[in-house]
Symmetry: C2
Subunit: 355 residues, 2 copies
């Protein structure tokens, strides 16, 4: 594991994530309706947004905007829209995965049933149109429409990625390979988590004057590091080992890089065993959830799947840093530029608690 | 039943519905992506749009536009967006209702499972942004943004209506009254089926120069007639009596005007019986689906619930005609103006086949 850089030790990354996450959350909450059905709709709509996330998406959007010469306020509506959409995706994804928990509390559909949660997810997604239409007043028509078109494109990509991931789930994860994994990660995760926030931040900050393709490359590698890191933490974060979310990827049979590596590394008999252990039905001769998770994690450790994923993420982080220089190296140095660069290292080298 | 007017006998209503429905469907289909995952996503996305509907929403939008002096082409993107959204709502509603069939074929989630259908519904809704953003080129920025704002508003209202209807389902339909029923119908059905199509048609046709509030009143009453007529046909259309959809409102325990009337008309012991017969579980001592439906329909006939709903719809149709004159009576006479007026009668007095 690489030594943390001075800037990371300075807490720049954590401070920026916290401050921009707070700003975007406040902006997002201001777009949740005060009138209309509360108990039947808007209490559900407000549930996930009131469970704070890590702030990565809004911080990427706001910092990229500032690094390109814009103000926080210029991109705040864009960041709020991303956060609303992010929460909408979480609600619908949790239904699709039948996830039990989200951010330490029961998933919305477990609390309120699928129909109401589905409807609340629809509401969250479309509430994102509020800040995007308000951009007309603050950014002017042309830029606001460009941001809307970016938003429309990101949604289409994310839904396509979700479709391919769902199809995977119905096939045998053992048939997947690393290249296919990366292709789905681009669509399912990177577009809305990193590519779009950076593109929109740059678009707004530069008033439409920079090359968004170069920024998309940086966003892709950064998003892939983020996803693989999430995959790793799901089965290694010992602080969460007793939390409800620990090992959920295994129970939900998510085609993570670790599981794909494991499936391609074990002998056929062990592969049959892994296939039995993974997934909600888990035809594993009566083994409980915790038992199944710890068995699969043990195999991942024995066959080097966790080390492989860490090394793979290191490689992608290197690519992200190279693309960062190509896309934004020319910008004047600033704390926001530092933050964007250091975020790569922060995601690559998280403090793995208790491990 | 009122005698059909000459214009209706001329087939103006049917011709307009067919022609505008065809135009809007062609425009909608042109916005379905040709690239991207086919079997996992875009085949599902194309499924409901390829099952033709009655064409009421697009015809309302296009005829209102033409009646206000615009061309069909001006409002075609708006009509395509409404159709895409309509199909998206159908997919999500069918999941929420666990509907078995839609337009004579299995519901999408019955064919492909909830996760894929949910995702396809999301895709359909957001594809509507395509024609709405293209409006910038054909209608100019200001009008295109006004249409977008209308669209955002209609979605919020529809989702709020869906939330209240879902909440009803969990409560006892016997506690509902007619006034509450109408309030939900405004949000759940009228906004996207009639109010929005008319408002957007008038907005575009008049280039933003007419009073949309008056048009909203007309749309509301027209939409309520449409909804009640659907409720009635669900349990009376004998041609559909052997089709899969017949009586589905009873099996899904939908709070229709007929069921609300029945619950308020029967003695307590019969109410208990109705409550047992209605709904998917149908704790009715082993009676099958068809048996349960025919029993409830028999009660509806005996207690006058069907006659009540017909009379109620007649009253609303009268209100719709009055509001039509207030909102659009000043327009020069034209086949499209005739169509809008006659559509009220057409919806009020459908040819109830075989009854």
């Amino acid at each position: 594991m690489t030594a943390a850089s001075p800037a990371v030790e300075d807490g720049l990354v954590e401070r920026t994530l916290a401050a921009d996450g707070r700003r975007a959350r406040a902006a997002m909450l201001a777009y949740l309706p005060q009138d209309g059905p509360r108990a039947d709709l808007y209490d559900l709509v407000a549930d996930y947004p009131s469970r704070p996330g890590k702030g990565i998406r809004p911080a990427l959007c706001l910092a990229t905007c500032r690094a390109h010469g814009g103000e926080t306020e210029d991109a705040l509506n864009g960041a709020a829209a991303i956060e609303l959409l992010h929460n909408a995706f979480l609600v619908h994804d949790d239904i699709c995965d039948d996830a039990s928990h989200r951010r330490g509390a029961p998933a919305l559909h477990r609390r309120h049933g699928v129909p109401r949660a589905l409807n609340a997810g629809d509401a969250l997604a479309w509430l994102a149109m509020g800040p995007l239409l308000d951009n007309v007043k603050t950014l002017g028509t042309e830029l606001a429409l460009d941001v809307l078109a970016e938003f429309q494109h990101l949604i289409q990509r994310t839904i396509e990625g979700q479709a391919v991931e769902l199809a995977w789930r119905d096939r045998r994860f053992a048939d997947l390979d690393v290249d296919t994994y990366l292709k789905v990660v681009i669509d399912k995760t990177c577009w809305y988590s990193t590519i779009h926030p950076c593109r929109v931040g740059a678009l707004i900050g530069s008033r439409g004057r920079v090359d968004l393709e170069a920024i998309a490359h940086f966003g892709f590698f950064l998003g892939a590091v983020l996803q693989i890191r999430d995959d790793i933490e799901n089965v290694t974060d010992c602080e969460r080992a007793h939390a409800k979310g620990f090992g959920s990827d295994i129970i939900e049979a998510k085609p993570t890089l670790l599981l794909i590596h494991l499936a391609r590394s074990v002998p056929p008999r062990t592969l049959d065993e892994v296939t039995r252990l993974v997934g909600p039905a888990g035809d594993s001769g009566g083994a409980g959830r915790a038992e199944r998770i710890s068995h699969v994690v043990e195999l991942m450790e024995r066959y080097g799947s966790i080390d492989y994923a860490c090394a793979f993420a290191d490689g992608l982080a290197g690519a992200a840093l190279a693309e960062f220089e190509a896309a934004m190296g020319w910008l004047p140095e600033s704390p926001d530029k530092d933050f964007l660069r250091m975020l790569v290292l922060h995601l690559r080298d998280p403090v793995i608690r208790g491990r």
